[in-house]
């Protein structure tokens, strides 16, 4: 599905990685491992097209993602470091809006219930972990999106929520989706492959 060839990334004059080549097939769960500052987040941002690599290219089903634009972004879910939820909106409003922008029509309540987030309390009043859950509820309603790119999905989660995320990732891979995620903890969640970045 996704092929990366000869990727090189330099930030602030420091080369994070060079000639990085790999591909991800349907049903795979690729974990990107590496120390802090080894370029895990930059790699994910390159893969979803937010950051242009200094060299190399990313291809989705054979075509460079730069030429696909919305055709590609429609096919991915990217959850970054920031939770991407607005403090002044409720989790239900947040989820509905982010799904509508992604071109999905979903039942927000079901997704939030899966992650155990109250639907109608302003996000401002939720704890850090509940905020993460509200953001991750996006996964529970994105079964139809083939590629998931998750930056530290387990950060700030308790064991129960982490287990839910594990289950969502496993189910997605089982139905033929692909998941690429970063984590520096050894949770691993049954990653089918590990890509190690050396800073």
């Amino acid at each position: 599905m996704l092929e990366a060839s000869g990727l090189q990334c330099a930030r602030q004059g420091r080369t994070l990685f060079r000639s990085l080549t790999f591909s991800v097939a349907a049903g795979e769960r690729l974990r990107i491992a590496g120390a802090n500052g080894s370029g895990k987040t930059s790699l994910l941002r390159i893969l979803c097209g937010l950051l242009a690599p200094n060299e190399g290219e990313v291809r989705w089903k054979g075509a460079p993602i730069g030429t696909l634009k919305e055709e590609y972004t429609k096919e991915i879910v990217y959850l970054g470091h920031a939770p991407a939820v607005k403090d002044d909106l409720t989790p239900a409003e947040n989820l509905e809006i982010s799904c509508k922008l992604a071109g999905l029509t979903v039942k927000a309540d079901a997704g939030l219930a899966r992650l155990g987030v109250p639907a109608d309390v302003p996000v401002r009043k939720l704890s850090q972990g509940q905020r993460r859950r509200a953001a991750l509820a996006r996964l529970a309603v994105s079964e139809s999106v083939p590629l998931w790119l998750l930056d530290e999905p387990y950060a700030a989660l308790d064991t129960q929520a982490a287990a839910t995320v594990d289950a969502l990732i496993a189910a997605h891979a089982a139905r033929g989706g692909a998941v690429i995620f970063t984590t520096h903890q050894e949770t691993g969640a049954g990653a089918s492959r590990v890509l190690e970045l050396h800073g």
Binding site: A52, Y78, P83, D88, L89, I97, S98, K100, L101, G103
Partner: protein, 222 residues
């Protein structure tokens, strides 16, 4: 695509409503700045009438500037802007929707309240529709041009001042045409020419600004 536009506009209006005080500050700023001049200059009807269009327009410019830095900054900080970049509709469309919401919150109220401000300057009643119309046509241009600057200065330290330096010079044509239309009308020559030029400026910026905002956002987000 239309759905995405409506979704973004509704979202931004909802957020603005939940933070009503922010709208009120920009509007109060406009009212206070425009009211300081009659107090400072003193009661000289002819002078006040002469400076009214210019002063009201400058106050509108500054007030519209105030809320610009917030246009993308909050979305940038909490990560929702990234999600917009990765949305299913072109970024230019989203950018246009953000600028439209900014105008509804910061430009439209100015055009509606300007006739009241004009009273303080003893502007003839025949001129207030021209003033309101010029603001209605001109403030969307301010939002669109301002959004380009806001997108370019996203995440830059001291971005607020930089934004003013970048955007205020670009506002000059709007200021000249907007204030000029009222002055021409008061001289009895009719402000139609300036108003039509303002409308042309609005059409042109509607066509080009969204794509400029989108490119600027992509650069700032790297």
């Amino acid at each position: 695509m239309v759905e995405a536009v409506l979704c973004v506009v509704r979202r931004d209006l909802l957020l603005a409503w939940r933070r009503r005080s922010d709208i009120a500050t920009a509007l109060l700023f406009f009212i206070i700045v425009a009211s300081l001049f009659p107090l400072g200059i003193g009661f000289e009807p002819n002078l006040l009438r002469a400076i009214a269009p210019g002063v009201i327009w400058v106050a509108a410019l500054l007030s519209s500037m105030l809320s610009l830095s917030r246009l993308f900054a909050a979305d940038h900080a909490d990560g929702t802007l990234e999600q917009m970049l990765l949305g299913a509709s072109p970024l230019g469309v989203i950018a246009a929707a953000k600028a439209a919401a900014h105008w509804i919150v910061s430009g439209l109220p100015l055009a509606l309240i300007a006739p009241l401000i004009a009273l303080q300057y003893d502007l003839p009643a025949a001129l207030t529709p021209v003033l309101a119309l010029s603001l209605l046509l001109g403030t969307p241009v301010l939002s669109l041009i301002g959004a380009i600057g806001a997108a370019l200065t996203l995440g830059v330290r001291g971005g607020g001042i930089l934004l003013s330096l970048l955007v205020l010079p670009l506002y000059v044509p709007v200021l000249i045409l907007g204030a000029g239309s009222v002055e021409m009308a008061s001289a009895g020559m009719g402000g139609d020419g300036q108003l039509l030029l303002l409308a042309a400026l609005l059409v042109a910026s509607c066509a080009f600004a969204p794509w400029a905002i989108a490119s600027a956002l992509r650069i700032s987000m790297e």
